[in-house]
């Protein structure tokens, strides 16, 4: 083990975690498949919106490897395009949530006092609330009443921005608590005191001295949160409040499937299976990263 860098050590520990490696491979394959969606569509000579009303509910065939849906659209191509949206929205929302949580946690932990008390009570409050009912109200808000430009509100992509904002608005709490607790511990450490003595301002200390020490725990928390956030996005889209058709997402592909469950049950199986595999992979990878990056986990295994 001599002469091994921190990263090599973490990589070795991560690779020992078989489920985490399997999860990472799954995510890579899913991301590559989603990225290649236009290629698959071109190869099959179709696109995600091309309907064929004479070929509805077609069984799997060489032209349609997973068959067709209620409008005769190719299921595989729609799944791949849905994956582009679901994975992208999930990742962006997870990063936004982590950024928000980091800012709140850093300020609360470093500033302390009444600001800390206020921010943490607020965090507790957000955690305690029933999230989904609130999200449904948030998702139903008419954005033009908030004074957003009409062109933006009417655009097709608005449901993407909206879902990222909404999911980030409830997803930041775990990271905020974690960052705050670590910041509190780091604040009293000699290297921070030394920086203060040299006249560094609070912003510099938080960003340059404290944040790098938190990087690994933030990465772990974000990975674990990404799974939850993808779940949340799919639930909202399933309920018709997230990503709006015609943009396909794994969640809204299931919306129709519920009504068709008696005639075409397989339509309900595929999108959910992909969500499941993605979320499980994120959780395994997060768990593996935790073991690899968290020094406290060392003694747990030995």
């Amino acid at each position: 083990m001599r002469g091994e860098s921190v990263f090599a050590f973490a990589r070795r520990r991560f690779l020992r975690h078989r489920l985490a490696v399997a999860g990472a491979v799954c995510l890579a394959v899913l991301a590559a498949a989603a990225a290649a969606a236009p290629l698959a569509a071109a190869a099959l000579g179709t696109d995600p919106e091309m309907a064929d009303l004479l070929g509805r509910f077609a069984p799997p065939s060489p032209e349609h490897p997973l068959g067709t849906d209620d409008l005769g659209r190719d299921v595989l191509v729609r799944l791949l395009y849905g994956g582009r949206i679901s994975l992208f929205v999930g990742l962006v929302a997870a990063v936004c949530a982590a950024a928000l949580g980091t800012v709140v946690g850093l300020i609360a932990g470093y500033r302390g006092g009444w600001l800390d008390a206020f921010l943490m009570r607020f965090t507790d409050g957000v955690i305690a609330l029933p999230a989904l009912p609130l999200l449904i109200v948030l998702a139903a808000v008419d954005l033009s009443k908030l004074g957003l430009p009409a062109g933006l509100v009417a655009s097709e992509d608005i449901s993407l921005y909206r879902i990222v904002a909404i999911v980030a608005a409830v997803g930041w709490t775990t990271v905020a608590r974690l960052v705050r607790a670590s910041t509190l511990a780091l604040r009293a450490r000699p290297f921070v005191l030394a920086a203060q003595a040299q006249g560094a301002g609070p912003l510099r200390i938080m960003v340059v001295h404290i944040l790098p020490n938190l990087a690994s725990s933030i990465v772990v928390a974000t990975t674990l949160a990404a799974g939850n956030i993808i779940l949340l996005e799919s639930v909202l889209s399933f309920l018709g409040l997230g990503i709006q058709p015609p943009i396909p997402s794994w969640g809204n592909l299931l919306t129709n499937a519920q009504e068709l469950v008696w005639s075409a049950p397989m339509l309900a199986v595929w999108p959910g299976l992909l969500i499941f595999v993605t979320v499980v992979s994120f959780n395994f990878v997060g768990d593996g990263l935790q073991d690899a990056l968290d020094p406290r986990a060392l003694e747990r295994h030995t």
């Binding site: 489920l19 609330l129 999230a131 008419d142 908030l146 779940l231 639930v235 999108p271 969500i275 499941f276």
Partner: protein
Amino acid sequence: MTRFLLQRLVQSAIVILVMSFVVYGLLGLMPGDPIDVMITADPNMTPADAARLREIYGLDRPILERYATWLGAALQGDFGFSRLRAQPVIDVLVPALGNTTILLGAAFALSLALGLAAGVTAAARPYSRLDYAINFAAFAGISIPPFWLALLLIIVFAVILGVLPAGGMGTVGSHGLWDSLSYLVLPVASLTIASVGAHTRYVRAAMIDTLRQDFIRTARAKGLSGRRVVLGHALRHAMIPVVTIAALDFGYVFSGAMITETIFAYPGMGRLIYDAVMGNDYNLALVALLFATALTLAGNLLADIAYVALDPRISFRSLER
């Protein structure tokens, strides 16, 4: 104890008050207003009629003033009228609250019991094959999309096997207990599977932590059987964090219930909120959301009480702030 309860009740009241204002504001931002709904229902209405109605109902007044009016009525027990159900809001809410309590209570108890059994089994031999398998299953349970799970259960048990109903509360004309129970099986099962994974992991982590402590070594040294040590000594200690986390998860479980109720057409609070928001039933949506919040806060309070009951070192005084 009284002081603690009083403090928490005041805190909860403040949270609910703040929530009521936030939700009131958000509902005001939803597309359309009650008069727009009337306009779609009555094509003969002129813009002048609409403006007059807005004045009569006070919708032209500033939001703070309207909120104060609503709050004043609500504090006197008048929660208004539900547009969708054409009944006073409170008459719609009470039965829904009862249904949700049955669903949540059954699923929560079942999930905690299964989670305890699986978690204790896994922790008894950490990093064994069995532990590995339980961990894997728990992760799978946590990661499964709850609405997809519900759909799969419907496909298997209602569509393919045809042994259980796909949704609703009871067969028309049948009032048997068994009939009502059969409608509960799939919703309870899907909620239980959705939360048992998390419970298993909490129990496992807490048990592994506990089994490493000195008092366990002492108990073993005294010559107690492994079973006695695990079930009699360690479990009680491990229950403290488990109960706390499980009860704090209440908001999360409620969200799960909302999905389950929507898919199985189960007439509980979750479904009610969804229908109210989708159907522009502002009065119902607002009060139902506040009830859901109150329910969650009550769950959190129960967590703290259980915490004190389980751990003799903690008193209510130490929880006061």
